[in-house]
Subunit: 127 residues, 6 copies
């Protein structure tokens, strides 16, 4: 599939692109949106849910970007590591924070499997 450029996009896609650009104050949308524009329904759903959930809310935006990076590493999604890593840095993540995040990701993936391997029963206190 090919990316859809703004000038070639149908009106429904242009409207989403315009909203991304004005919300994020950027001159152009990232590659992710240009490819997702091949499926205009998902383009709108994904943008609307990300816009609502990733912005100001109960967790601060930087925390949410760090969570996004952690999941993208776990799932080995190179594009998502790059895009959300850049977003985390833009929102204030230092190199020390990113390195500590990587450490947590490594440890969680290890202890997830150790808990499986030993079939550890959930403590009463956690229920």
């Amino acid at each position: 599939m090919k990316p859809i450029a703004y000038e070639d996009a149908p009106d429904a896609v242009k409207a989403v692109f315009d909203d991304i650009k004005s919300t994020r104050k950027v001159a152009d949308v990232n590659n992710f949106w240009k490819y997702l524009a091949n499926e205009p329904r998902m383009l709108r759903h994904v943008w609307e849910s990300l816009k609502e959930v990733m912005g100001q809310g109960h967790l601060d935006p930087l925390t949410k970007e760090l969570v996004y990076v952690a999941i993208s590493i776990t799932n080995n999604c190179e594009y998502c590591m790059a895009s959300h890593g850049a977003a985390a840095r833009a929102k204030g993540a230092s190199e020390e924070m990113m390195n500590e995040l990587f450490a947590v990701v490594g440890l969680a993936n290890m202890t997830n499997r150790l808990a499986n391997a030993y079939k550890v029963p959930v403590d009463e206190a956690f229920k």
Copy 2:
């Protein structure tokens, strides 16, 4: 494998259990540590690395617990969801924060696959 109780544990295991209890100010260690005590070398390595990385550092401890929960959901580790969910709440996570975290986990797992499906090339700006 069976859990190892404090009174039945070899000295090397007792020493780790004691350190967990005094560090966390708890009367007993969780099931995870009692099962992992079957492999005393890993018990020590896992505890020492968690103790050093999950405490005070470049990211605040609550953020790290939220990341842990997010990965545990992605990997479907029920024990780890329960234990780190409890830790997150103990460190101040409200129900609203947990719900928003779950939303981010869902969205990241969706967009990770959409980026794969379209083989989206990494934007120059992210490199």
Copy 3:
């Protein structure tokens, strides 16, 4: 490991290659088979099971290719996305169908994690 070309293959491998070529009416086998030929037992098992299951059966062949693509995206297997994506298109999948498939893959990966996160109990009606 290196791919095994027809002319260099032992007879057991040649026999499988010949069957692939005559079944699929192609001049040469894909790279997957040339590499798998390094393990002649698996070459035969994989080919025989794919031949029997992916052809005419209870589900139509296109549906099965779409399922294959969906799993390959979920597992992030680039080769399999390419080969089964090509097979799906050869069997009639339009661009609109592929885009809708990608949408389903994204949604399923999202709701799988939301169901985990909330530990949703299975409804009586589904049992």
Copy 4:
């Protein structure tokens, strides 16, 4: 987290529940929606996107349920296997079709790893 019953739900949640019930012609919503109602924004986003993508479109609804089941097996989501398995059967999937689907899921998960293991390069014909 606890499920939210219709009578206890805020208006925004009730509106989504009503739409699910009238769209699907059911007396009550499944557990998934009652739990997701803890996060009303995601409840609405997930419902709206599933409603639009899983209904009539470029792929027939049964095919999309089968894809959903296949991904849920791959990710080991028990709730999703049960709910989308029931939906697939309600839309016409026979036992033979479900068994053949399971076969495809097994084969795809096998060949995904074999392609990784041999680092098979993508054939020119697939590009």
Copy 5:
């Protein structure tokens, strides 16, 4: 789906059950085979490939069971952990060996993600 008992099985299934019983010198087949018998083609393919690959070969049978357990933990397949864990023990795995195996599984899942996170380039010496 329900398990298929020997006495209710069609002849093609009975033949596979008989071969499993005589090869493994057991009075009855495990649950896995009774469920897989719902799809007689896969029953035969899976049995024939396991029989050929898991027995005597280039790797000793115990090593192959340990690999099977390691993958089953990584994928969180409880049935497979139980059945291949039992097979490993039957073939000579001690508790110390199982504990060390679990340690390796934990470490590999950690370093897999650390290598992803840092996007470590493959050393020339490994190519």
Copy 6:
């Protein structure tokens, strides 16, 4: 993040690098360690646990490398496949052994999903 060369490393990192080099009798450390040196705490934890677990123990070192390769294929970690594949070969794995390992990895990933799909209950004999 950039790799840390020995001459630019802080003393704590140099000490780990020196220990890796003398333990493994190599002139320089692999890329993995140079990148992980960005997080000196994890560098030390990962090295100390690998050093203790992957060496002589209850399982022979080659078996542990094969397990490592199997998990790395399952998780699709290209760097880890390359580095532990090289280590397995250095410890005596023949091409026939690697091919048989790949076969086991494929089969385990298939039967893990078949056991999930059929929700096979664990046999009494395995408990």
